[in-house]
Symmetry: C2
Subunit: 522 residues, 2 copies
């Protein structure tokens, strides 16, 4: 359900289409070898050559950092007063004005924060971990799956819908009852053609193990892992076991929509977060790149000549100027780039029209006590709901047993995000608190303040991430991967890891490698 | 398999037997209300009354700390030079001499350690978390389940046995193939009597969701969550998907023995560990109890009179003495207590014979680089094997992306532990490294040094934890729960949370409450 929707949306178009283009693109060095785990070597260096990098998000920062290390003379143009792009962390004093003119200043207590942009690093995103390690940023585990958390199903029916139910109960009962049914089917001879007698015996043993069946009669009658009425303790208290839900009730609830044999690739634990906030990663880059980043500088126009790229800029005081360089790495989101006088080729201009950007909303709610830990025994993880305007409620994976905490009150997408974003910040908070109250009775009384973002209403992003249709991925995406003369596009939109920092980093690696080969050949 | 074996052994006897005794034991206040999450209030306090606590493990420390807070004058007798009992952390310089006379001094690099006693705190062990919070001990998540880790099955057959296979592959394929088979059975009408048409449709949808089936033909053909041949990246690299194993191969491998609908209660994530080592918990107690703990003091004899308890002790210099108190909390493991001239009632003496203690072995292996993270992308969790002498290999859940690391090279029980413990420390290390090499080719070349423990060979423990047969749990355990005049037994052995610190803490809470009621009535 909600946790996989983003994955669904971004992957919808990821399969097929591009295969035909593989052969041709190998000429650009853009084949599967780009599934790399370290930056390209940039052999020979870039001494005496200049590069202007547009945007100091993680893609731009990666490009500037690596090109700088290789000896290129780099200038980074960044519209915001800080680096990171979407990789932001809201703490006390953090300000955001959305396109509607509504402003918020974060008022969380000192030490509390929400990562309202990227917030997770899966173990397999080696590129992101490469810089975490290089910069010595401390990681902590992000608890991305919590069997003791709740499912709140609004689209189901029966006694288990429209109320919080522990994920462990649904997992144990859906799988337990299914194992019982299948074990009886196997035992009755239904698979005699398909499997040998020895394998059928192993099959039944597997089902009994998976589903905690009684091996004698292959029946499922619950298991301690789904929870206890009274948990075992000292003395004579051996615990009072819980009873399973009927399969009909589990099916009707639709709470099983959160179950899967294994998590999707981009949602698998083990998952990490930087201790202290996701912005520690861009800060690590920015400290090393230093004064080569020109902050609070907007781009008005981009032009190319036979010899280089000229970018017309205006700073926060209204002062205009130009930056000229031999090459350009352009990491501006396509949603924004389309609206700039970018001087790009007609092919590139047309290709940019093929991509739309996802409306995405998040809200951090400061709670004066960690009732989800204290009363509900839920430490991190997500409350799963099929109510799209909430999407999921996520409990913080940091400061365990602390006093206060900031939880993620909603994480919504597309139409749901558009709808909720139309509310004022105060009304968004009220909406989130009202829904949360259905799951946690302590919600309203514990709520203190909120910080929300609607990424589609953020001036320099105009969306959470690029959404490629299958058609556009086949037709337009390969065009944008090719340089436009001396300009290379990078960012999560230039990857198959859309919406993740790893997509930005790996696309930057790909494009600086291509730029370096062009520059070295020149 | 191995991860649940301990749970199996300790729970084997937990069910049944005791139910009959419930009514009678309610007179002692020992009914299910003892499933508590906070210490008893000890109303009225204990001013002017003395208690001698035998043993400064977590049970003894809990009793001494709470009785002290209530005003009792407490003396703790501890045989070791430090507090904690089995809650030990081996770091550079930590010394252990087993009963065989073999001595080890831990030689890990500064900052590295192994918790060779208790190492995990499940989210539901509220009693342990109570003190973690009270003492302000920082927690970090312990990654107790890792889909990207390996299963190494030695008892299976076929192409997936006797080699490392990712857990995600087995989970996806065992469940995916099963879902396909069951969905086809449901579709063919086998459950028409059991479920309505609407529920059958939901059932198939559930199976398709769980098993990533193609909804059109209900077939399973793999899923990205089981891993990629080439993972998706930047540019045209949309990834090369992996192919599922045949169900026959999965069944024959027996690797499915690690799968279950939900984890057992005591193995469920979310799980924690104190940052810096498990001994931070006993240290938290010991700092607060202060000089009321008499370290390096062995107990030679225990006697009771109508007025109190007298304990004859001898310190490390050979100096003898006695400690007399109104009451006694006795937390000495029964394995050890049996061998002391304890002066207990014939009923208690006989009951102690009913319990045996589990041989348990662990080894920490210092590796000069974290190859499991760098090369295998495994961050914490366990390598699951059915080879009992290894049991499981566990990767550290701390210092992510660090340089070196100490992993748990084996965790064995009962006969397997007895067998491995007969080796010298050097040979235990060689044994662990030789086996690990089958899974990780970097094992031998990375190995630096080791520290091992065989708890059954540790003088003041003589075993890892109490093992109650069903018979002894029914017959002897209730006898030991009752005070022997002015002496109350506490420890994990006096609980249904055997082998966990929570068992020690909760049994201490139970017994100080009983002691306080006896003392208040006196």
């Amino acid at each position: 359900m909600t946790m996989s929707r983003r994955s669904f949306l971004t992957n919808l178009s990821a399969i097929g289409g591009t295969a035909l283009l593989f052969a041709g693109m190998k000429a650009f060095g853009m084949d599967v070898a780009s599934a790399v785990t370290a930056p390209p070597p940039l052999e020979g260096g870039g001494k005496g050559k200049t590069v202007v990098v547009l945007g100091a998000g993680v893609a731009g920062l990666t490009a500037a950092y690596e090109l700088g290390k290789a000896g290129y003379d780099v200038t980074v143009i960044e519209a915001r007063a800080f680096a990171g792009g979407r990789a932001q962390t809201a703490r006390k004093g953090f300000q955001l004005t959305e396109l509607t003119g509504q402003s918020q200043t974060c008022d969380f207590d000192e030490g509390l924060y929400i990562n309202h942009g990227p917030w997770r690093i899966p173990f397999h995103q080696r590129s992101t971990l490469h810089y975490i390690r290089e910069f010595g940023i401390e990681l902590e585990l992000f608890n991305n799956d919590n069997d003791n958390s709740y499912i709140y199903s609004t689209k189901g029916s029966g006694p288990l819908a429209n109320r919080p139910v522990r994920k462990a109960e649904i997992a144990a009962d859906a799988r337990g009852h299914s194992a019982e049914i299948l074990a009886k089917v196997v035992g009755a001879g239904a698979l005699d053609q398909q499997f040998s007698a020895a394998d059928r015996e192993l099959f039944i043993e597997y089902l009994a193990t998976e589903g905690y069946l009684d091996l004698k009669d292959k029946s499922y009658s619950g298991t301690e892992g789904r929870g206890w009425i009274t948990k075992p303790g000292a003395g004579l208290n051996g615990g009072v076991p819980s009873k399973p839900h009927a399969m009909k009730d589990v099916l009707d609830s639709q709470a099983w929509r959160v179950l899967s044999s294994v998590s999707n690739w981009d949602q698998q634990h083990t998952m990490f977060q930087p201790k202290g906030g996701m912005d520690r990663l861009p800060k690590g880059f920015a400290e090393r790149i230093g004064d080569k980043i020109r902050y609070s500088t907007e781009i008005e126009k981009i032009r190319q000549s036979a010899k280089g790229v000229t970018v017309s800029v205006v700073d926060a005081t209204g002062k205009r100027g130009t930056v000229t360089a031999d090459y350009c790495i352009n990491t501006i989101p396509l949603s924004v780039l389309k609206m700039i006088d970018n001087g790009m080729s007609p092919q590139h201009q047309a290709a940019m029209d093929g991509v739309s950007y996802a409306p995405v909303g998040k809200i951090g709610l400061q709670m004066k006590r960690r009732f989800w830990e204290e009363n509900h025994w839920i430490y991190g993880g997500h409350v799963y709901t099929d109510f799209g305007e909430i999407g999921s409620i996520s409990l913080p994976s940091t400061d365990w047993l602390g006093k206060k905490g900031v939880l993620l009150g909603y994480y919504n997408f597309i139409g749901d995000a558009a709808k909720v974003s139309a509310l004022s910040p105060a009304d968004r908070a009220k909406f989130a608190v009202d829904f949360g109250q259905k799951i946690f009775p302590e919600y309203a009384e514990s709520y203190e303040n909120a910080f929300s973002v609607a990424w589609h209403l953020v001036k320099y992003n105009l969306g959470g991430w690029a959404q490629w249709t299958e058609e556009a991925r086949a037709r337009d995406y390969p065009v944008l991967l090719r340089p436009d003369r001396r300009m290379y596009l990078a960012g999560e939109h230039m990857s198959h890891i859309g919406g993740w920092q790893a997509g930005g980093i790996e696309s930057a690696w790909m494009q600086i490698d291509a730029l370096h080969r062009q520059a070295s050949a020149a």
